[in-house]
Amino acid sequence: MATGVVERVDLAALTDRLQEEWHTPRTLYGWFATVDHKEIGKRYLVTAFLFLLFGGLEAAAMRTQLARPESRLFSPEAYDQLFSMHGTTMMFWYASPVLSGFSNYLVPLLIGSRDMAFPRMNAFAYWAFLLSGLFVYASFLGGAAPHGGWFAYVPYTSVQYSPGLNMDFYALALLFLTISTTGGAVNFIVTIFKLRCPGMSVSRMPLMLWSTLTASVSMIFALPALTAALIFLELDRRFGTHFYEPTLGGSALLWQHLFWVFGHPWVYIVILPATGMASMMIPTFCRRPIVGHTYVALATVSTGIIGFGVWAHHMFATGMPELSATFFSAASMAVSIPSGMQVLAWLGTIWSARRHVFATPMLFMLGFIVLFVIGGISGVMTASVPFDLQATDSYFVVAHLHYVLVGINLFPALAAFYFWMPKMTGRMLSERLGKWNFWVLFTGVNLAFFPMHVAGLRGMPRRVYTYPAHMGWDGLNMVETIGAYVTVVGVLLFIINVVLSLRSGRRATSNPWGASSLEWSVSSPPPEYNFAVLPTVSGRDPLWEEYDSLSRPAAEHARNPAPTRIPASSELPDWRVLADGRETLDSTILDADPQGVLRLPSETLWPLGLALALTALFSALLFRSPVWTIAGTVATLAAVVGWLWPTQEFWT
């Protein structure tokens, strides 16, 4: 690579030039063709949030049915579709994509890069996520939404017991989504390994990078099990194979093993990045670096690894040998140790804070710790085999998993909206409304989910569309339903806050919270090229370096964060400028030493084209149309060829 020196950077000329290179036209074409990670990240967030609302409405409908015993509001068929779509939506189309949204938006900014390593794949991952979600929701139009639960146990989901299209929608939509998710995971891994700015060696990586990296690697290893399980299911349903047919040599338990080998790591995939965001926010509001940075990074990675060794704790009641059960019991308890390390790191940070700033994101963080601890403790209880034989498939587990997913996914995600939305939109959210939002939601969630522990231990099984009166469950269920409605109000308050902020929110400075990481060094919202001069860092908290040495009050620091003052007249090596086309720096994996210049692609419709071709292909598979299946396959291949067609530079 060139090692020349750019003398006297003319900042105005540089930003003009970068703006020209990186600008996505504000046209319909530009809207569909954009590969800007910030635009894609925002779309991920909006889309995932819409799916959260769908899943939430399904939950509210279920809670209405369960408010009273013997309710006849929904037929069993309708209720089964509601709970199946609630779980499927929340696990696949909300919980993971919302984190991908934040990571998409933030990772390039956190590492001082101008985009993701594969911007077109990023765009494709988004379109495939959106279209697969629309695909699965299209099932409601035919009244044939998936009805086998998000876990879809065979043989109930085999063609013999579920002859409609319901489970085909489920299997094909998920296969479609795994393509998107795998592409996204590869993109994050390469971006985090290769695109970090000089100085950001592995030991200085912000914790959100560790958690995103761990989740992405886990996806790569976990998803094939799901893909295999789904392909076997479709082969059984469509072509009469018997992977899961016990009378013909298959096994009903094979599905459970494959599903949970994927499914339990998936739980960590949808919570780890959120803990990473927590490790960014809590230190900001305590005005000190996190306690035990290295241990937290280690804990994150080890959670991801141990998470692959605990899947059978979903299957304690299947009659597995006691020795296996005790092994998985021990592993499931062990996986809580790294979580304990993370919690204590946050507690230590709060304990030794220089100051507590009770902004809305911090309130959500405190709520998150409370819910995390409750969900973690009930998780340890269910890891104990004999206790689990009573708790599993009862409402106790419903309580546990909602404390985990609401506590460690939804609360950090909402905190992150309050924290990073000013960066994305340039406008603050209302603190007053934010505090109402927090307290209403926190109350609603605890009212809705805590009584479920008791209902479960009192013998109430899961996935029942109604229940008899006088079993000791009536009052609990009524409280749960009231809690669910309060939760709905809490979410509505959030939506109102967002709308008000977009219309008339206070303008955000570049670093409104006085945070320490690189995304706060650029304007809010950031320019399309992210960084005019590519940054370098010399510590874990680049924006606090001056703050730490001078011990300046945070407010003053926030008004004038160090790295935004670009040394306009100093000499800069030219790799810090890179303004000849869409370029960013690529660096070595461990030390982040500059290694080369990466040319990034500009707007293109091929990612959308490929996603649409796949939609056609999966629809053809759904309706068993051989002609359209062939057409869809050809279209998919054509889109791949078009995408990979060499540029003009290649031919000349």
Binding site: A330, A345, R462
Partner: protein, 324 residues
Amino acid sequence: MALAQVRAIYDGAPSALAPVATQAARLAALGWAMIVVATVVFIAVMAILLIPLWRRRGAPHTDSPPADVNEVGWVVYGGAAVPALILAGIFVLTLVTLRASDPPSDAPHAPRPLEIQVIGHQWWWGVRYPQYDIESADEIHLPVGRVARITLMSNDVIHSFWVPQLAGKTDVIPGRVNTTWLRADTVGVWRGTCAEYCGMQHAHMALSVIAEPGGAFQQWARQSRAAATAPVERTNAGGGADLCHAMRRLSHRERNAGGRALWTRSYTFCVATHNRWRNASNVRGNVAGWIENPDRIKPGTRMPAVPLNGEQLVAVVAYLESLK
């Protein structure tokens, strides 16, 4: 509606925390022990979270100088070592409880265990007593104090056998034979249920466990065997014949039309229906209503509605009651 009356015949709610058998009592004891530990841990963590917030309430909005923190103390000792010790304790309790829930060993003087086969169907439980040559449905009779070895099989999809007051769950999986055991220590009637989602009427796939003194159990067994000796003759005797023939015909048609798997709608089924409603209440209207239009009581059930006139319906109900 009859299910509201179910309560009348059960001895309390089907709560895992209200065990009536040694086996479930051990699980409940483990549960309580963990609930106590959980509460202590939760309070401790909340204290660590809230104390610093409380201490600094009303502090001026400026930053104190950076404090030295013992990172290893917080994260390694506090976050890993202390939890590991607590977890080790819980794991030992787990192992002890697990060992204690093993089926009682074949002690030389112990009475032979009662063998019971429980077969999961969408959405009812077939119950067989091979030693007594009895077939029944949706209720399990146990002699108090005698171990019952339960063999679990499924006729269709996965179910899970759960009588919370007696024992934990065991899944009922097609292609597998799982076993569990029950021993009732007192006389009583308890509710059991299917705990694994198995389709539309999963919610109503309940069963009763009835524990009686040994003598009463033997008497029940004798009566049931007598009732079971000549099912075909009896079904041919009156309205029951119409019912079962009608059901067979409908089953056949339904199989051709929908290609669905069907139950064996035969004698076992009649007993199932009978028992279901005898448990709930003895109201004739319920039985008649169930036969007339099963879908109203259990939407999604695969039992077809049987078009019978009033006279036939009365005859069928009378027949079912005669099986008592």
